[in-house]
Symmetry: C2
Subunit: 141 residues, 2 copies
DNA sequence: ATGATACTTGACTATTTTAGTCAGGTTTAT
DNA sequence: ATAAACCTGACTAAAATAGTCAAGTATCAT
């Protein structure tokens, strides 16, 4: 299973974006400064977010990024999916004759892992970017 | 967050053990053959499980391992903990001045990650080795 | 028009983690 | 005594992670 810095950065950056993009496009430079994330790394991340149509880019001076959907409609699943954070547990080896062949003799862990994966995905499907922004604002009062 | 092959192997091996240890100690060789896990790797894993008193070793010929507790009392949390599979999400960098300082200005992801961690740990705390063995036996009918 | 700002892309890399292997033990039942 | 099985620590190849670096292109403000 993967859930690393890249996913965390994507979430942080998008919450930042959601808080400021109603006025102007937000430049990665600003996000970089506010969130302490390397600009080059942000570019990699936003390239992926753009391809998945989570954000839109505005080129040129005063350019930057804006959300491409309403914050309420952007679920965490979408974000993690976009930056290749697969919420997947390690799969059983296909070559392994013993244990898990995927049919009757599914390995013990297999079912468990499936179950866990579902749990986590449910959690991420419930949470939208809007939830996080709200939560963040409350904490700042 | 970590949830890799080592954790999966530990679970598979212990389920195997739980099914057979009522008669004799189970040798790692047998587990290795049945589950298709390298013997050397199993030894590493069982060394850790023994230190955490999840299994007991029986040395010498006809030796092997037995559970040190009832299957019902061994929770998945204990297993993952023993083999160093930390159910922890990536932490925020302490050096980072921006973002997360851990006090008032906790970074957005921080709360979310905490919440997720709790979710997963709850899931693992509910499941015991006994649950898995039962589940496994049902599937085999 | 032109410079500055900011997006865009792709290649590159150091570090860490993972998933083992290997070698050389010690213990004990038979 | 000897073979089975545990025990320990060091080692390593491959993959993943978390970036950096370089060389662009587009557009706005003036």
């Amino acid at each position: 299973m993967k859930l690393t810095s890249k996913g965390r950065y994507a979430v942080m950056a998008l919450v930042d974006l959601a808080r400021f993009d109603s006025i102007n496009p937000v430049s990665l430079r600003d996000i970089s400064l506010r969130q302490g994330i390397s600009l080059d790394y942000l570019e990699q991340i936003f390239s992926k977010l753009r391809k998945k149509e989570i954000v839109q880019s505005v080129r040129g001076t005063q350019g930057g990024y804006v959300l491409n959907k309403k914050a309420r409609e952007i679920k965490l699943t979408n974000i993690f999916d976009a930056v290749d954070e697969k919420v997947k547990t390690v799969q059983c080896k296909k070559e392994s004759k013993k244990g898990c062949t995927g049919k009757l003799t599914k390995c013990v862990a297999h079912n468990l892992w499936d179950e866990l994966e579902k749990h986590i995905n449910d959690f991420f499907n419930e949470k939208s970017l809007e939830d996080l922004v709200k939560n963040n604002n409350e904490k700042r009062i």
